[in-house]
Symmetry: C2
Subunit: 416 residues, 2 copies
């Protein structure tokens, strides 16, 4: 199974480590890198000299203006923005958004587009994605050859290999191998990511203090999604993107879910479920296709104003989320939670019932210590996650080739 370490892997790994240290720290000095990586100064000096020679790193002022110190001033090492570029493609309900990002993580160019994903044909959907990527690539400011990777995120289930969308609520189409399609079309390596996983990745980069080793990002939107980081690593299912938190069963045989089953968490906490309950429709009522953000905000406003079916709908949502989280906590222990999406703005209405429900579950004893953040806008987060995901790939595969994070034959292909 797991493979021995060959001698040349050593340099590759340590190169990757230096690049990662620079990406995390911003503009660290060689001394700082030596400290965080545990490698000697000589090694860091040798590696960074190589990397500068290859145009991957560039010298500059150090980040922390700890300027006024006695000795030789530190030289900051930063990522060379021109070393490469990546593209992010975020496909969500009725919305397609693309950005080109330089190697240092700055957005160079972007484009957004509304489209009717629910009714589009398979070909049209693929066509739109290909077309928007092509337009960005043909933008005169960008050197096509420098675009080293494309990361595409979609709401729904993707496979573990990050090649295909298996199922998505934003389209009736299934099993579209977006990653393969884009690779074939543009000759640029591409991956297909789950939107909630990208949210989690982004949170980790945004606030590594709070979101370090174990945390949960939950998307409260038309559907319910989850991104999970455990022991410092993104958690995915064994075959799919996993974490189908929204489709854990809250009440066996309960409310009708968009997925066709009954009693899922989403069937109580998704926008359509809150909407359905707020209008006092039966739990058997077919879920509506879309509820606008404005409608949801109005619903929340009414719920805050007076006790009534709207408030009760949010209570039920909180209860379902609470029991779901409780069951999750039974498996992984409690962890900080970030609530993302339009209903996160109504978290004040959700929280009481949610906490009460958690208290009834195995994670309950720590119920009070669990903390929630809210972030109403998921799109920037998803894009940021995609960007970091793509850049990390570039770091590892292009500039430190042959490194395998986990034992696996995939890396071997790249070497050949």
């Amino acid at each position: 199974m797991s493979v021995g370490i060959r001698h040349d892997d050593l340099r590759r790994r340590n190169r990757a480590m230096v690049i990662a240290a620079v990406r995390r720290a911003g503009r660290p000095s060689r001394t700082e890198i030596a400290a965080t990586t545990g490698l000697s100064h000589s090694t860091i000096s040798a590696i960074s000299s190589d990397l500068i020679g290859e145009g991957i790193l560039a010298e500059g002022k150090p980040s922390e203006a700890g300027a006024l110190k006695r000795g030789r001033p530190q030289v900051g090492l930063g990522l060379n923005p021109e070393a490469a570029a990546v593209m992010t493609v975020v496909l969500s309900l009725n919305f397609l958004s693309v950005a080109v990002i330089d190697y240092a993580g700055q957005v160079i160019s972007e484009e957004q587009r509304r489209l009717d994903t629910l009714t589009m044909s398979r070909e049209a959907l693929i066509g739109e994605c290909v077309a928007i990527v092509r337009r960005r690539l043909e933008d005169s400011d960008i050197d096509v050859r420098s675009v080293a990777r494309i990361a595409l995120a979609i709401q729904g289930i993707t496979d573990t290999e990050a090649r295909a969308m298996l199922w998505s609520p934003i389209t009736p189409q299934t099993d579209i191998a977006f990653a393969d399609i884009l690779e074939a079309e543009f000759g640029i390596p591409a991956t297909m990511e789950n939107d909630c996983n990208m949210m989690a990745v982004a949170l980790r980069w945004r606030d590594p203090e709070r979101y370090r080793d174990d945390f949960i990002a939950i998307l409260l939107s038309h559907g319910i999604g989850m991104g999970l980081v455990l022991k410092g690593e993104l958690f995915t299912g064994t075959h799919s993107s996993g974490g189908e938190f929204g489709h854990m069963i809250h009440r066996p045989g309960g409310a009708l879910c968009r997925c066709g089953r009954r009693g899922c968490v989403e069937a109580y906490a998704g926008n359509y479920a809150i909407w359905r309950n707020a209008r006092q429709l039966s739990e058997d009522t077919e879920p509506v296709a879309d509820v606008s953000d404005a409608q949801m905000r109005a619903l929340a406003a009414t719920a805050r104003e007076r006790d009534g079916p709207e408030r009760e709908a949010y209570r039920k949502a909180g209860e379902a989320l609470g029991y779901g989280l409780g069951s999750l906590f039974a498996l992984i222990d409690p962890a900080p939670v970030a609530m993302v999406g339009v209903s996160a703005a109504a978290f004040d209405l959700i929280e009481p019932a949610l906490r009460e429900a958690i208290a009834q579950t195995a994670g309950g004893q720590h119920s009070k210590s669990i903390s929630f953040d809210t972030e109403p806008n998921e799109l920037p987060l998803i894009r940021e996650g995609c960007a970091m995901r793509a850049l990390t790939f570039v770091d590892q595969e292009i500039f430190a080739p042959g490194v395998q994070t986990k034992a696996g034959p995939a890396a071997k292909k790249n070497v050949a």
Copy 2:
């Protein structure tokens, strides 16, 4: 965070890899090891020569009697049984069992003992464990100094550091740092493991073909426990042993569980729950302390014989397990399941309702492809797992010191 690879780590890691290859393969030749580890013949030759010199490996006949081949015959490399020894301590309801195992994995000596764990005082419980270990250590056949590690398994919740039992159904006592106690008493490194996790470890060694990267071991006993292997690694919670599958909520506000909460899977599928339902007692009835294996077998026999409350009790158990598994599968995707424990012998009564329930959940589409094994006797499995766990520790820590499986500061201490 993650630390660079120093030059001397290389040899350490590759030594560990060779030892692991030998432990997995039995009596592999040097050529075989080179093939499985991917290292060159020269390296394997050098490392194995070192290891033989240190008395860790020993030469012998090769395992596969591929004797009749043309060239120079292979020399088998095996673990030297006298290189070290480990002890396993399994503490379960009213039962304590200890074994001494040599470095090659053979049982040298064992002792079992009945005791009344539910009513014993904290001191008595600790005292019994210490005493039984001491007796084994003082057994004249065993060189005390060669015992390099003790692995203790208990039903219940342990901490991630594998130091303490936090809570267990077999005793009212909580937070006993067994690992620290045994270390202090005997000066031998010890770990505190969760019983179901050890079952999973054992299954992996017993049948690596079937139980490789992703599988689930479920203990159907008085309580319901789970051991989970994901992506080839034992899955534990972030703070505790995790995997409290039995206490996922099946029905909010439902049947009274032994843990004091309501609606847990265990409150429908644990022995006491099946017993309660079979006797048509209310779901609010306080769980009984123990149901003997004989009583459970009688119950199962009755259920097979005629339709009635017994059969219905097993049906409810299946339903609860099914929905629980379904929720789990929503998070991790379906995987092979091993049912272990006395009620695994009644799996024929459980399976129909279980499959039907899974079909109602997110994992449902693959419901038919999910396969179940049964193993009525959990004790040997737990002991085997403990033994392999302890031996693996010896492999890594004693004979290849300073290796860090995951990035972590702990290793730094060993280097210094």
